[in-house]
Symmetry: C2
Subunit: 191 residues, 2 copies
DNA sequence: AAGCAATATGGGACGGCGTTCAGAACACAC
DNA sequence: GTGTGTTCTGAACGCCGTCCCATATTGCTT
């Protein structure tokens, strides 16, 4: 299958190693055949991203939540970091692969990304019983972006401080401090 | 100059709009001439990234610190977000442009990225008077990665929750909660 | 001012790319 | 065997990054 071959190319050489001709060579078909199955190369890669997002989503949904925000979110963070580090090259697709301006980002793709924060909102709920929905949304977004920043910096290997080994530690630190800040604020009655 | 033309191309069409021939057309030279000034196209883009990092660094260093971590870090976060959003397309280079595996990331490039967290460590210092240096480092890394995650998700426009408008708000929320968590922990004598 | 070495430039060439498309090959109903 | 619908090939187009070398331009020495 085309997707299988493309995955292997990405895992060995990253996005730069992918080309329509190279995929064709790998599956021993001619380049033209690719265009029967996919609209173009971007379509192949987008499909691959979608599969990856679905798998991450499935893993997040498989985490049992026990109602304790600290431990629940720690587990979510661990899962997230483990996934991104196990699939580092594929993971980097999310940032490196930009759809050309001509055709906009499909809605289902956005929806998949947005959907990833839902699990966070559920886990955060106990801390936000009498907060406005926009605040729950905001807290989830902040945590998601933070975890995401750590995961992406670690897979991209651009910061010496943030390695694959330290990512889990940093995520744990982020979550515990942020939640401490929230509950502290909650106890003192500040918004 | 070559860099000027390349900057314009990136600002209008992103990294995908950049090609050696297009730059040459823009400056009305032939493509071959590019290779007298730069080793190759990656070199041009790397130089552009370096300039951008230097400018961000300069802005961060221009922020006066008054010794109050909350307000100091808020100002740093604001500056960071404002910069990334004002230079969104250039900013995205940091993630989209990956050096081919053949030649490794130059040390000075890493050093520039690592240097960006220094200002954070200084601003955090009052909260960490009797903490181990690794903890200061960790807190700075976490905050940096978090701010960075928010900034990159907003410039990439991939999350509907995280827009250029909301980025500053989210960064402020992250910093204030995280620091609350730190001082709370400090007051209670926990690690 | 003239000559010469050093450097910069133009433009063609090479191999590779994404994508298209006319026609060959194939599978299968009648 | 003929016809029909699908799938595949392979050449073609216009790009790309990069290299190379004949030519033009510059700067310096005499």
């Amino acid at each position: 299958m085309i997707l299988q071959a493309t995955t292997e190319l990405i895992e060995s050489d990253g996005l730069a190693g992918v080309s329509a001709r190279e995929i064709a060579r790998k599956i021993e078909y001619s380049p033209g055949t690719l265009y029967n199955a996919f609209r173009n190369l971007d379509d192949v890669i987008l499909t691959l991203e979608a599969r990856m997002l679905d798998e991450l989503q499935a893993r997040l949904e498989g985490i049992p939540l026990d109602g304790n925000p600290q431990s629940d979110l720690q587990r979510i963070g661990e899962t997230y970091v483990a996934f991104s580090s196990d699939n580092a090259q594929l993971w980097n697709l999310l940032f490196q692969h930009q759809i050309p301006n001509s055709e906009p980002i499909p809605d289902w793709y956005r929806a998949k990304l947005d959907g990833l924060t839902q699990r966070l909102e559920v886990a955060l709920a106990p801390l936000l019983v009498n907060a406005k929905p926009t605040e729950a949304n905001r807290a989830a977004s902040v945590l998601w972006a933070g975890v995401h920043g750590i995961a992406s910096l670690s897979t991209a290997e651009k910061l010496t401080n943030i390695t694959k080994e330290s990512a889990a530690l940093l995520v744990s630190d982020l979550i515990s401090h942020y939640l401490d800040g929230m509950s502290h604020r909650l106890a003192n009655g500040r918004s």
